[in-house]
């Protein structure tokens, strides 16, 4: 069964059709590369899935159940997690504190509930081990490499029982070595049966890690096919409009 299913989703901002009749399915453990030029509707689509705003038209199903998101927290409760482009990390806090930000574990009885540091360190350590990252729970994010910071942001998505992870341009502003680390992290998510939507401008990354590629142009989905059946040349042509659809 599809973990995520969008049927004929549209979004209008006044007279502007940011998104026009987009349907999309995502299977567990599938990595979908979502590509398109600026203004093609990628980020609108992602914001709808992440619950930043509801669609003007269309349906959305998670694990076969119809969902209506009004706030990001609604999406999170349905098992959809987002890794933001700037990672949304606090440099002045430790890795574990960032993983648990907004969802801190506490112990004790009200009103004497205190942060459960040990539990948060242990669980973070296990999550980093799961992701095969060298990130240490007690290190300050300020002192971390780009790859380690990505691991913190991705570990955050593993806290709850998430099924879908949206990643917004995770490889846009990091070094080549760190890109490889991030792609490995995506592999780890796939191994655990999590569906990933990877929004990216970088063709090589999508072709290395994704199972499928979807291309957006002017608010419409113009292609959705297996990576093996496509090529970077074809996707480029689809993005620019040299090729109408495929």
């Amino acid at each position: 069964m599809a973990v995520l299913e969008l049927k004929d989703v549209a979004k209008h901002f006044g007279a502007i059709r940011a998104l026009d009749g987009v349907s999309l399915t995502l299977e567990p453990g599938e990595v979908l590369g979502l590509m398109g030029d600026n203004g093609a509707g990628k980020s609108t689509l992602v914001k709808i899935i992440a619950g930043n705003f509801p669609p003007s038209h269309g349906e959305m199903h998670v694990n076969g159940k119809a969902v209506h998101f009004h706030r990001p927290i609604d999406a999170r409760e349905s098992g959809i997690e987002v890794v933001y482009q700037d990672l949304a990390l606090c440099d002045n806090l430790t890795a574990a504190a960032n993983v648990y930000l907004g969802r801190e574990l506490r112990k004790g009885v009200w009103p004497f509930r205190i942060l459960d540091y040990n539990a948060m360190y242990e669980r973070s350590r296990a999550l980093f081990a799961e992701l095969k990252s060298e990130t240490r729970p007690r290190d300050l994010v300020r002192q971390m490499s780009g790859g380690q910071r990505q691991a913190v942001a991705i570990a955050r998505t593993r806290l709850s029982n998430s099924h879908i992870v949206l990643m917004d341009e995770p490889t846009a502003a990091i070094s080549v070595r760190q890109v490889a680390e991030v792609l490995q992290l995506i592999e780890r998510l796939r191994e655990q049966g999590i569906a990933v939507i990877l929004i990216s401008h970088r063709m090589p990354d999508v072709f290395e890690v994704a199972d499928r590629v979807a291309v957006m142009r002017r608010g419409r989905k113009v292609a959705d096919k297996k990576i093996a059946d496509s090529s970077p040349e074809e996707v480029t042509a689809l993005i620019t409009g040299a090729l109408e659809a495929a």
Binding site: P72, R76, C90, D91, N92, L101, R103, I114, L115, R156
Partner: protein, 337 residues
């Protein structure tokens, strides 16, 4: 088996790293050097003057900085979120006046203290509401409140000096001016409050969120931290600290003018900055607020005892503010390289 060995290795590794970072973090922290500076100043003064290490002088020094330090604790929370509160001096003024007017009218000390603390929290909440919910700049809002608070103090008291506090007057004077085990009451209050703040910063979710907001406000919003509520609450807490300081200060002085607390905002901000707070937010500690206030008072006291013209005090305190921030900046850039 293999797994438990790995765990063991991880743990010992962790400890080694921790001791290493703890020591280097200590030496590179501004608070550490402010403590050193304060201790050195105290030792030098004990030898060079006959009057510093007397119990009377130490009693005075600790009591004098307690008022500033109590308010600095609240200011620390505000500055850690990346905000600033310029209205603390005026909140001290207006809540001191409310206390005096209520008690002067014959009400009990409970009514007086209750009204004073309520006033201080309310003023703080108004600050917090405009900053957190209407998105205004803390500097502007609290600058306005600095003016409003001072003016309200004059309105409420008709600009009189009040030195009679009704039937419970003696109790008020005993609270602010008295001492227990040879330590002035305001110092005891400071100790208790500093311990509470230290605990709250480290062990509660509220404390964690205060630091998170100062570190990256947008990240805090995206991860579901109730940013507005927390930001509003830090200004209310800062207000409450002003109210507590006002009650103690009125009791100690035994008389109140509408000038109570004038200029305190600068002393308080100086104490927090010397104590390691970064005006960009995300950095600070309860201990830092206390030690920052202590260093300023020790400098002030030493200049008096050494017979330096009191006109020089501002120069010395100001120089320490700049040196402390400069030090912070130098150690900050070194660790980033």
């Amino acid at each position: 088996m293999g797994n438990s060995q790995t765990m063991q290795a991880l743990k010992s590794d962790d400890i080694a790293e921790q001791t290493h970072t703890r020591w280097s973090a200590l030496v590179s922290s501004q608070v550490f050097w402010v403590v050193v500076a304060t201790l050195v100043a105290c030792v030098v003064l004990s030898f060079t003057t006959n009057s510093f290490a007397t119990s009377q002088n130490l009693f005075n020094v600790t009591r004098n900085f307690a008022f500033v330090a109590i308010v600095a604790l609240g200011m620390m929370a505000v500055i850690i979120t990346g905000g600033i509160d310029l209205s603390v001096g005026s909140i001290i003024g207006v809540s001191g006046i409310v206390l005096s007017v209520v008690m002067h009218a014959g009400f009990s000390i409970w009514a007086g203290v209750g009204m004073a603390l309520l006033t201080s929290v309310l003023v703080g909440l108004v600050n917090g509401y405009f900053i957190a919910y209407l998105g205004m700049q803390p500097f502007v809002v609290t600058l306005g409140m600095l003016s409003i608070g001072r003016s309200l103090a004059m309105v409420i008291s008709q600009n009189r000096t009040i030195f009679e506090f009704g039937p419970d007057g003696a109790t008020l004077l005993a609270i602010g001016g008295g001492s227990i085990f040879g330590i002035a009451n305001p110092v005891w209050v400071l100790i208790v409050l500093a311990l509470i703040f230290g605990f709250v910063f480290r062990w509660t979710r509220w404390g964690r969120y205060v630091f998170a907001i100062g570190g990256n406000e947008r990240a805090a919003i995206l991860t579901g931290v109730p940013v507005r509520r927390i930001k509003c609450s830090v200004y209310a807490v800062a207000g409450l600290m002003c109210g507590i300081a006002a009650v103690l200060e009125v009791g100690w002085l035994g008389a109140v003018t509408t000038g109570l607390g004038t200029g305190d905002e600068l002393r308080v901000i100086a104490a927090t900055v010397i104590g390691g707070a970064n005006l960009m937010g995300g950095v600070g500690s309860a201990f830092g607020a206390v030690i920052g206030a202590a260093l300023i008072e020790v400098i002030r006291n030493s200049l008096i005892l050494l017979g330096v013209d009191s006109f020089w005090q501002g120069t010395f305190v100001g120089a320490f503010i700049i040196i402390a921030v400069l030090f912070n900046r130098l150690s900050g850039t070194r660790s980033e390289e």
